[in-house]
């Protein structure tokens, strides 16, 4: 089982509740960025490109908890920056657990082994470790040799101590499907709970355009990866999202599904586009013209985006939105189980 039943139940009942309330713009996962500072310096990463006085800013635990309460999403993803650098990350996590939020702490795991003692295993806490492939691919992607081994050892230790551990992998143009499959095998051998995958985000003004995946290439790559899928592979993704990545389902983006909060406020409109910030979650939801975003909107910035944070919420919504959506999910679940 990739995700515990209690989590599935919490998310399902939350979504059904939103459906009954006819709340269209409900959040599924809060993207909580408590800092932008990182201990890696990966080329192309826009999150660390700020002046020092901005990189030195931190959200307080109280600000983090208030954002989680204000947003109300059942899951909280903590990316960054590297969240384990935050001096009060344990306190932040503890407070979110008290609020019964399912947390995905996204980390490059360079500090994980050293900081594990700060945390207690809990069904609410998952370390989501950034792994962009096997050793060669991963170390190259993060621009530092030796990173794969450190992360691998840290995951092993975390699993040994009873923590939930998943991986998150971003795939770019040029990714080798066979290597990706071998990577899946390796992570399964390690016995991580599940793997999260996403294509690299491509938009009009992104640097190094040729490395980002465009829609057709994304579908081709994921179709090749899943062509000879093994039953042993476990994913921390909804099965419909995997179908979508292969072009078997057409979805539009749910940009409000993963709202982002950081030191600047609530980011408009989504995790990837930075068009400004508002002070409250209510303002974000009510004052954003959502019709301007998503591939069907015609917005050039959204044209090639098939990223997890925009489309996972769509696939979850599809499951609970209609009988046909539910049947589709059951079929995909059987196919990927």
């Amino acid at each position: 089982m990739a995700v515990p039943l209690s989590q599935m139940w919490a998310v399902s009942s939350y979504v059904i509740k939103q459906k009954l309330k006819r709340n269209k713009h409900y959040p599924l996962v809060l993207m909580l960025e408590p800092l932008f500072r990182c201990n890696l310096s990966c080329a192309g990463c826009g999150k660390i490109q700020y002046p020092d006085h901005i990189l030195n800013k931190r959200l307080t635990p109280e600000q983090c908890w208030a954002a989680a309460e204000e947003c109300g999403a059942p899951m909280v993803s903590i990316p960054g920056g590297e969240p384990l650098i935050h001096p009060e990350i344990d306190k932040i996590v503890e407070g979110l657990i008290e609020r019964k939020k399912y947390i995905y702490l996204c980390t490059n795991a360079l500090l994980l082994k050293r900081k594990l003692d700060l945390f207690k295993p809990s069904k609410y806490l998952t370390f989501s470790v950034h792994m962009d492939g096997l050793k060669e691919e991963h170390d190259m992607a993060v621009c530092r040799d030796g990173t794969y081994e450190i992360a691998y050892e840290a995951m092993k230790e975390a699993l040994k101590r009873g923590f939930r551990v998943t991986t998150n992998t971003t795939l770019f143009d040029g990714a080798n499907p066979e290597h990706v499959q071998k990577f899946f095998d390796e992570m399964m051998k390690l016995n991580v709970e599940g793997m999260m995958l996403s294509p690299g985000y491509s938009y009009q003004k992104a640097p190094d355009q040729e490395h980002f995946l465009h829609r057709d290439k994304t579908k081709k790559l994921f179709s090749e990866i899943f062509k000879n899928r093994k039953r042993s592979w476990r994913f921390n993704l909804s099965p419909n999202f995997i179908e979508f990545l292969q072009g078997k389902i057409d979805y539009d983006c749910t940009p409000w599904g993963n709202p982002t909060y950081n030191i600047f406020g609530w980011q408009r409109p989504c995790y990837l586009l930075q068009e400004g910030y508002v002070k409250t979650f209510k303002e974000l939801i009510e004052k954003t013209d959502w019709s301007q975003y998503g591939q069907h909107s015609g917005n050039a910035k959204c044209r090639d985006c098939m990223v997890h944070c925009g489309y996972e919420a769509t696939s979850v919504n599809d499951t609970f939105g209609s009988l046909s959506g539910f049947v589709r999910t059951v079929k995909s679940t059987i196919a990927y189980s």
Binding site: R37, N39, L40, S41, C42, A43, G44, C45, G46, K47, Q49, Y50, P51, H53, I54, K57, E82, I85, L110, L111, D132, E137, M140, A141, V142, C143, R144, D145, T170, F172, G174, A175, S198, G200, Y201, K205, A206, P207, D208, H211, F212, F264, G265, Y271, L272, Q274, G276, Y277, V307
Partner: protein
């Protein structure tokens, strides 16, 4: 391979070192848009001759306001467009030359040296 999906927009040429003294509200608005996309500090000169350097992280085109984290201040400052008479791109453009493409065009030895420098900096900050 680029590491992340979070890449910020690419600029053809960095604005670092440029200094704008807008002659109209329209020009102020255009310069603010540039400052909003800029990944470094800017120095703002206000109508009352106050000068401040900080990171302009937000702008509201409807309210005609910007928000700035002035260096050394923990809370952001809100300013009206009409208060701003000068915008200089004084801080280092932290995004300039940081693309994956730029990284790959470097020699292997340069990449190794830069990676080591970044590692040492993280160690010095107590983050490794």
């Amino acid at each position: 391979m680029p590491q992340d999906i979070k890449t910020h927009g690419h600029r053809e040429a960095s604005l670092q070192g440029r200094n704008f003294q807008p002659a109209s509200l329209q020009e102020t608005s255009e310069a603010i848009d540039q400052a909003f996309d800029y990944r470094g500090d800017v120095t703002l000169t206000l109508k009352d001759n106050q000068v401040m350097e900080g990171y302009l992280f937000n702008r509201d085109t409807d309210q005609q306001q910007v928000e700035v984290f002035v260096k050394g201040n923990s809370t952001p400052l809100t300013l009206n467009y009409s208060q701003i008479v000068g915008i200089a791109f004084t801080g280092e453009d932290t995004a300039n030359g940081k693309s994956w493409e730029a990284w790959m065009t470097k020699k292997a030895s340069e990449r190794t040296a830069e990676a080591e420098q970044a590692r040492q900096a993280a160690i010095a900050r107590g983050e490794l």
